[in-house]
Amino acid sequence: MTELAIQAQGLTRTFGAVRALDDLTVEVPAGSVFGFLGPNGAGKTTTIRLLLGLIEPTSGSAKVLGFDTRTQGDEIRARSGALLEHSGLYERLSAEDNLRFYGRVAHMPKAQLEQRIQELLTHLGLWDRRKDAVVKWSRGMKQKLAIARPLLHRPGLVFLDEPTAGLDPVAAASLRDDLAALASRQGATIFLTTHNMAEAEKLCNLVAVIRQGKLLAVGSPADLRSRGGGQRTEISGRGFSDTMLAALRQQADVSQASVENGRLMLVLKDGASAAPVVSLIVREGGEVQEVRSGQGSLEDVFLTLMDEEHKS
């Protein structure tokens, strides 16, 4: 049986009339990188706060690393690391002192702490600037340091709440590489919230999609892609009229049809061929220059799930 790092059963939290988390039941195997995906206000941060034992659930229960979140929050926090919504760095202090403080909080022996600080800062390319006050650093450097902080004491579980939010694409990609390397080297369970699908696809071996506090889907990225995305077909050409779109939407194998940036974007049912669709376009007076077909990305699945939930 797989050992579980997190086991939530019917976890619910309300704030007045608002149901921030609604009957969440989820299991996160130890050693996995778990992506918790959802738009802003979906309940991701509330879930992390509940799992860390910072707030109590209105109903339901959760066990984290084998400890009850209601009664053993101290044990959970002692064995986990967390990068929450904000970096949580003390900007007047140096990078070294920020890590030294949290290392002391984790009761790390001094020699081990100093060695670990050097290891992490060197790996992240921050060692030469270790004595600078963090306030003088760029946003990307601060975020790297913020990620190093919860990994410092090699916890069994790390919560990362949107770790690349607000970074430029280059800094975000570099941070993702660092995170993947650190995670694989350390072998910890990572609970990652994000609304960046590419990030989730690259880092996670298990993802869950949440909206308005409700869990919509859970599985590996490949599972979700095959389950809900359908087959994406992109057709370049000319003469894509509204009549043609209406005709396409009436086809049994076509789930969605739209024109984006002059291209015809279709979602075909799994296993359906694009050939009859192309014939129909030509019959309706369209000109086809290029046809590209492929499995939908995690982002497509995510958007489909959001759309379905919105309609329901």
Partner: protein
Amino acid sequence: MNADFITVLWKEWKEIVLERSASGAGSYRPLILVAVLGIFVPFKMPPERFFSAAQLLLPTFLSAFVITAVIADSFAGERERHTLETLLASRLSDRSILFGKIAASMAYGWLMSIACIVAGTITVNVVNWHGEILIYHDAASWLIIALGPPLMGGLIATVGVLVSLHAATVRQAQQTLAVGFMVVMFGIIFGSTMLPAEWRIWFGKILFTWSQANLALAAASVILAIDLALLGAVMARFQRARLVLD
């Protein structure tokens, strides 16, 4: 608990010192205070007046005033700079965080008052040097030096925590505390004249019949009782789940 308390104290102390040694006018503020109250004022003062117990109220109140700025930065600042939730998500207990922060603020206030007293003592000795060292000679003075700054500091620190937890920003907390401090001080000074005549006679008798040491001990006992009551209120308010949702 002890190790965690020391860890928080260490972090807070570093932040206090670094904030005040950062570039800008702020870095000279502690030195200016010590220069005015520890050198300029004693320089113009006769030794018998400087070494009186009543004169020690000045560094005692200085310590309290310094704490209003530091404590607001420590609590309201932690929330304003978005570092509080990360701190609460650590293994530190609520009490280690609370006591570590209060202790660091009080230590800074105490250090400032002691710096003024030491600088003043040196200044008075240099100005009035006749071959022997002048120093505080009565029990009341030593009681005030030992108990005044920590007890007054504790009072201001606990009030400061309560105000800071309700304030939206550091500036708002500092302004509320500074104004409140002034109101209380002026209230004590001018309010005494509004007391009923019998009360004033009763207080007068105490002031003239009790020794200064007994007066200092009585005042210390009253302030200690207030400190403990406020500490209880602060401990009840400083709860992790509540702070996260704030």
